[in-house]
C-alpha cells in the first residue's frame, strides 16, 4: 500500500505551494501593486478622474527627489564607505524619475491583463477539444489537431498577428461592430490581438493538457465505461476533471508566457504595457528607467499569476491526485 509515498509527495506539494505564499514580502508587493492598480483604474475609467486628474500620479515626486539628493550628498561626503548610501540614493532617484509615468503605465497594464486573460481563457475552450482529439480521436481528427498545433507553434506569433491584422478582413468586420472602440471597450486592433492569442495559446495549452490527459491512468476510463458511461461522458466526467488538475502547473507556465508575449500586440498598435513604455521612452529617451519599471510591473504581474494559480491549485486539490502523476 502506498502510504509512505503518498505522505511524502503530499508534503512536497504543500511545501511547494508554501514557497510563494510563505514569503510575506511577495504577498506585500503583490497587495500594494493591486491596490494601486485598482484605485488608479477606478479613478481613470469609472470616476473619470474624480480623485485626481488622469495622467497625474498619486505620488508627489518632490519628497523622493529631496531624499535622493540628501542621500547623494551624504554618500559623497562619506567617501568610499558611502557606497551603500549612494546605492540607496540611486534607488530614490529612480523612484522619483518613475513616478510621473506610472499613471500611463497603469492603463497599459489594464490592456495587458485583459489581453492575457481573454486570450488564455478563450484559447482554453479550443485547447480542450484539441487535446481530447489528440488523445482519443480517430486518425483524421488526430491529424487535424496535430496540424493545428504544429502550425501555430511553428510560426512566429508576430507573423500570426500580422496576417490577421493586415491581410484578413477581420479589422473591417470588427470595427463595424457596435461599441467597439467606444468608452473603455478597446478598438479593433485589441480584438484582433485577442483572437491571435486565443488561436496561438490554444496550440500550446492543448499540448499541456494532452500530456496531462495521458497521465490519467487508462483504468479510469475503463472503469467509467464499465459502469455504463459512454466514451464522451467518461472523458467528460472522469478523465478531464483529473487531467485538468494535472495540467495546472504546465498551464501556469503558459499563463506566464502569455503575459509577456502580450507585448507583441504593440506591433499592431495595441496600447498595452510594452507599447506604453516604448512610447514614453521614445519621447523622453529614459529607456533604462522605463524598461526597468516595465520589467518590475511585468514581474508583479507574473508573481500575481503564480500566486493565483497556486491558490487555484490548492482549492481544487484532491488528496492523492496530481501528486503522483508519474
Amino acid at each position: 500500500m502506498g502510504t509512505p509515498e503518498s505522505t511524502t509527495t503530499g508534503r512536497t506539494i504543500r511545501g511547494r505551494a508554501a514557497g510563494l505564499t510563505d514569503q510575506p514580502l511577495t504577498l506585500l508587493t503583490v497587495a500594494v501593486f493591486w491596490t494601486w492598480l485598482v484605485v488608479r483604474w477606478t479613478n481613470d475609467f469609472l470616476l473619470d478622474g474624480a480623485l485626481i486628474e488622469r495622467n497625474t500620479s498619486f505620488f508627489p515626486t518632490a519628497p523622493f527627489e529631496s531624499v535622493a539628493s540628501t542621500l547623494g550628498s551624504l554618500a559623497s561626503s562619506l567617501g568610499p564607505v558611502g557606497f551603500p548610501v549612494g546605492w540607496v540614493a540611486g534607488f530614490f532617484e529612480f523612484l522619483a524619475a518613475s513616478i510621473p509615468y506610472l499613471p500611463q503605465l497603469a492603463t497599459g497594464v489594464w490592456a495587458t491583463i485583459l489581453l492575457t486573460v481573454l486570450g488564455i481563457a478563450l484559447g482554453f475552450f479550443i485547447a480542450v477539444p484539441l487535446s481530447v482529439a489528440r488523445v482519443y480521436g480517430g486518425s483524421a481528427t488526430r491529424s487535424v489537431a496535430l496540424g493545428y498545433t504544429e502550425l501555430f507553434r511553428g510560426t512566429p506569433l508576430l507573423a500570426q498577428l500580422f496576417v490577421l491584422y493586415f491581410a484578413t478582413p477581420l479589422t473591417a468586420i470588427i470595427r463595424e461592430l457596435p461599441t467597439v472602440g467606444t468608452g473603455f471597450i478597446p478598438a479593433q486592433a485589441f480584438w484582433v490581438a485577442v483572437i491571435a492569442f486565443m488561436l496561438n495559446s490554444a496550440a500550446y495549452q492543448s499540448e499541456y493538457i494532452r500530456s496531462a490527459l495521458n497521465s490519467v491512468p487508462e483504468g479510469q476510463l475503463t472503469a467509467a465505461r464499465a459502469i455504463g458511461l459512454s466514451k464522451v461522458d467518461g472523458i467528460r466526467h472522469v478523465v478531464l476533471p483529473q487531467g485538468l488538475r494535472y495540467a495546472i502547473p504546465g498551464w501556469s507556465n503558459e499563463l506566464v508566457y502569455l503575459i509577456k508575449y502580450s507585448s507583441l500586440a504593440s506591433f499592431i498598435t495595441v496600447r498595452e504595457l510594452f507599447e506604453r513604455t516604448d512610447a514614453i521612452a521614445s519621447e523622453t529617451y529614459r529607456y533604462t528607467e522605463l524598461f526597468v519599471l516595465a520589467g518590475l510591473l511585468y514581474l508583479a504581474l507574473v508573481l500575481s499569476a503564480s500566486l493565483l494559480m497556486e491558490y487555484v491549485e490548492d482549492r481544487v486539490a484532491i488528496p492523492g491526485l496530481g501528486t503522483t502523476s508519474r
Partner: protein, 248 residues
C-alpha cells in the same frame, strides 16, 4: 425452464496474431458463483472483458438472460448497466469521494437526482461496511477499503451479474480478508458472480463451480470438491499444487 443467466458459446478472441480465447463455452444460472482460475496470460481477464464488451470477440456468441449481447446493434452502455465489474487495481475515480464514486453512475447513467442517488449510495456503502468513509478520497483509503468501494460502485447499478477480476491480488495479505468477507456475504445474498481469483479459501467455500482456463481453453470445469480433490486433467493438478506454494 428459464434460460441460463450467462452463456458463452464457443467464444474466440485474438489480439492480432495472438489467439487468446479458443472456443470457450460455459453457462451460469442466476445465483451461481463461478470462480475462474488459470496461469497468467491464459485469458482470464480477457474472458471477463468480453462479457461486458470492454473488448469485442472474434467468434461465437454470448447470451445474457437469453439475449445475445454480442450483435453489432446491442447498446453497450445498456449492457454494462446490467453487468457490473470490479477491477484488480480498483480503478476508483481518483477525483471523487467514495460516495461520489458510487453515485456517479446513478446520476449520469441512470439519470437519478442527487438526493436519491446519495441515498442509494449510502445504502451500498453500508452493505460493504464503509459508511464511515463516504467522504474520503481514494488516496485516503486502504487497499481493502478501496476495493470495497469498487464493489459498492458496481452493486449500485443493480447488475444482474457481477464480474470480479482478481479483486484481492493487489492487496496486502492482511487486507485480503476484508474483501473476501464482503464477497462471501454477496454470495450468501444470492448475487450472481463470475470471479477470477486465486483465493482458494473463497473458492472452496463459496464457489458453485470452478473453471480452470489454460492457454485460452477451458481445461476443467466443475464443483470445487471435484477440482480440488479429484482433478480430471493432469494440468489442473499441476497448477493447483503450484498455486499453494507449500508443495515447493
Amino acid at each position: 425452464m428459464s434460460p441460463p443467466l450467462l452463456e458463452l458459446d464457443d467464444v474466440y478472441k485474438s489480439y492480432g496474431e495472438e489467439q487468446v480465447l479458443s472456443g470457450v463455452s460455459f453457462e451460469m444460472d442466476a445465483g451461481d458463483v463461478d470462480v475462474v482460475i488459470g496461469p497468467s496470460g491464459s485469458g482470464k481477464s480477457t474472458m471477463l472483458r468480453c462479457v461486458n464488451r470492454l473488448t469485442e470477440i472474434n467468434g461465437g456468441d454470448i447470451y445474457l438472460d437469453g439475449d445475445c449481447i454480442t450483435d453489432a446493434n446491442t447498446d453497450v452502455n445498456e449492457l454494462r448497466k446490467q453487468v457490473g465489474m470490479v477491477f484488480q487495481d480498483f480503478n476508483l475515480f481518483a477525483h471523487l469521494t467514495a460516495l461520489e464514486n458510487v453515485t456517479l453512475g446513478l446520476r449520469k447513467v441512470r439519470g437519478m437526482d442527487k438526493a436519491a442517488a446519495q441515498e442509494k449510495g449510502y445504502e451500498h456503502l453500508e452493505q460493504v461496511g464503509l459508511l464511515d468513509q463516504a467522504d474520503s478520497y481514494p488516496a485516503e483509503l486502504s487497499g481493502g477499503q478501496k476495493q470495497r468501494v469498487g464493489i459498492a460502485r458496481a452493486l449500485a447499478m443493480d447488475p444482474k451479474l457481477l464480474l470480479f477480476d482478481e479483486p484481492t491480488s493487489a492487496l496486502d495479505p492482511e487486507l485480503v480478508g476484508e474483501v473476501v468477507e464482503v464477497m462471501r456475504d454477496l454470495a450468501a445474498e444470492g448475487i450472481t458472480m463470475l470471479v477470477v481469483s486465486h483465493e482458494m479459501g473463497f473458492a472452496r467455500s463459496a464457489a458453485s463451480d470452478i473453471i480452470f482456463l489454460d492457454d485460452g481453453r477451458i481445461v476443467e470445469h466443475g464443483p470445487p470438491e471435484q477440482l480440488f480433490e479429484n482433478p480430471q486433467a493432469a494440468r489442473t493438478g499441476e497448477f493447483l499444487s503450484r498455486l499453494t506454494h507449500e508443495g515447493e
